[in-house]
Symmetry: C2
Subunit: 404 residues, 2 copies
């Protein structure tokens, strides 16, 4: 359905065409003007006009001759992904990571702030300001900052609605705090949605325009791109799979619901199960959720039966979450990532098995389920993807590309 919301007015048609050309170059490397015109259904005249502006503004550049149709040589155009950098900031409950990436998603540097507790949030915010200021001072190639925060994130209001066990974050209004603090624009997005953008931009499995990123971290999150567009909902809080009840008589959740998926299989829930079983000894409660989960995964690899039982029970819930994702969003690709995805192939096999047992085969046949192939220490790449997506979608925000 074409709709007013997606249909384009004159001004936005120009920006949309600029964006389409940038995206095409981003995903396809060096292309001639004729190749772009053909791929996008635009006239050669339009391409010539728009690319001239993009070259003048320094966004893209001409390369040497490339081989064209009928062996005719033509000039190539290129968006040099290494030339522009972005900062990505990932907020989890107790973890803040700040990375610098180039447009191709290559990690240039990463820094982890000290573990956050409810009463050190103000210091953490101050440290983020200082760190970003330093990065911006040292790297003039940085053009934008992306931030990924735990969902549900109320975009219009600017804060996360629920941050289980870390209510202090609810007092932070992210846009207010950061939007005008730096020389480059700041974009804030819910973390799983940021992860979906990262999968779309950086995945080496080929582009896919209907995909879900299933974030198994301190919370359970989901970001869904449906035919190229993020599913947002009215306030930007859609696709909160972690707060779907898998048992309406089940465990209460901080969100107000009962039996929420994330109460059974998030890193926090798994850490609780580890503590209750006494699996890692008395030091267990003091570990971070990531440390406790990683220790569990090592025990599973060593064949520990109690550890395996804890992982398999979590995997069962994660699998049923995946069944719901298939029935609710029918993505072509489901990518599983973040802390719990560190359990690797054993987790994936169990999730695929449960999904195969419970999803209609006609639907499942066209769905692939994989572990994220993005570097596991680069969960922050989702935050970078938020900034890069804005750069590609709205070039006029970053460059003066409209002047003749």
């Amino acid at each position: 359905m074409t709709s007013p919301a997606h249909a384009a007015s004159q001004a936005s048609v120009s920006e949309s065409n600029r964006s389409r050309i940038l995206e095409h170059l981003y995903h396809n490397g060096v292309c001639s003007r004729a190749q772009i015109a053909k791929a996008l259904g635009l006239t050669p005249a339009a391409i010539t006009k728009i690319t001239a502006r993009l070259i003048d503004a320094g966004v893209i550049e001409e390369t040497g001759d490339i081989e064209g149709r009928l062996n005719r040589r033509s000039i190539g155009l290129r968006l040099d992904g290494g030339r522009f950098h972005v900062i990505g900031v990932k907020f989890a409950r107790s973890l803040v990571q700040i990375g610098v990436f180039d447009l191709d998603g290559r990690l240039l540097s990463i820094e982890e702030l000290p573990t956050v507790s409810d009463d050190t949030i103000p210091q953490t915010i101050a440290a983020i300001h200082l760190t970003i200021d330093d990065l911006l001072d040292g790297d003039p190639a940085i053009v934008a900052i992306g931030m990924a925060v735990p969902g549900p994130y109320l975009r219009d209001i600017g804060y996360a609605a629920i941050v289980s066990s870390m209510q202090g974050w609810r007092n932070v209004n992210f846009p207010k705090e950061f939007a005008h603090a730096f020389r480059v624009p700041v974009f804030v997005e819910q973390d799983a949605r940021a992860g979906a953008l990262a999968q779309r931009l950086f995945s080496t499995d080929g582009t896919c325009d209907t995909l879900a990123y299933y974030l198994l971290g301190e919370g359970i999150g989901l970001g869904v791109i449906d035919h190229g567009a993020l599913i947002n909902g009215h306030l930007g809080t859609a696709t909160e799979i972690g707060h779907v009840s898998v048992d309406i008589n089940g465990r209460p959740c901080d969100c107000g619901n009962v039996g929420c998926l994330e109460r059974y299989c998030s890193a926090v829930a798994i850490h609780q199960a580890i503590d209750q079983a006494g699996l890692l000894g008395p030091g267990s409660p003091a570990m971070t959720h990531r440390e406790a989960c990683n220790a569990l995964f090592r025990l599973v690899e060593d064949g520990d039966a109690r550890a395996t039982a804890i992982l398999d029970e979590a995997a069962r819930y994660i699998g049923f979450g995946c069944v719901s994702i298939c029935n609710l969003f029918n993505p072509q690709r489901i990518v599983i990532g973040d802390i719990v995805a560190g359990a690797g192939q054993r987790l994936l096999d169990r999730v695929v098995e449960i999904t195969r047992e419970h999803v209609n085969p006609d639907i499942l046949r066209e769905t692939t389920i994989t572990l994220s192939t993005l570097p596991s220490d680069a969960a922050v790449s989702g935050a970078a993807a938020v900034a890069i997506t804005q750069f590609l979608d709205h070039p006029s925000m970053f460059f003066d590309v409209s002047q003749p």
Copy 2:
């Protein structure tokens, strides 16, 4: 996010602008060219050109002078909703209804075919062909046919993946059977999604571009419009809330999953509960699901305690489905419709109560939950909305509007 999928090529920009003008006239009644230009951000020259074609093709018409800005008179334009008709065909498990509507959703005639059973499906298909042929012969104003079928509907393949208890429908390939059978085009959509389109087009509660239609019929379905676009998924089977598990240790479902929502609160599930309780006597199993539910609702109105208990238990599940809809799709408006919505205010109150208890207040504050105000005998209006949406979105499929 602007994306290749939504960005427009030259040709589709023209069609998109045509469509936007038609939609604007559809929702706003008589407008001047200047008003349209202002509302849509198009140049007066573009408006003049496009509307001239639409007038020549007979889609819209000029009215007399209307009052313009600064008391200047200007000519009004109008899309006469009464001038074009569509046929809507609603398939349920055991029920087929065929209605004729005008573009404004006014019901002109409706016909219900004899109750379908698994072995009378071929006769039903034949009767649909005959009925539609007769309607088309008698009404030259009919421009399109919309069909609404139970989900999950595999759009690319053309059949419904699961029709619990009526597997015979699985052998019907809807586009193959109907697409080229008539003088006007045929469009097939999943029933709840069709209902969402109907709410968007015909609702008297004002337009809303992020809404969910929660279909409580023989199955439980959902159609979601997110910022103006239907959520489809890769194969067109997204938003199947009826097959989300509310209890991973629960009742098995024909879809392969367990504990599916529709196993607890569809008209079929409620009919089963009525039979099991012996509430309506020995004739109960022979009733249609709609008859059994309507009889239950009458008993509830009369204060029958056993009937009330059955309804309240179903309402509890429907309420938890509504909680999931809020968390998964964050719609601005949730409209409840179809057979079980016949329970009326008591059901709505219970659903609102459960939603209030279990959804984050920041999200719920911006969500309204209502019963469908479309005529209850016009469930088939969703099918008509499928056809009308195509008419408004793709005028060049219906008229030669591209010639100079």
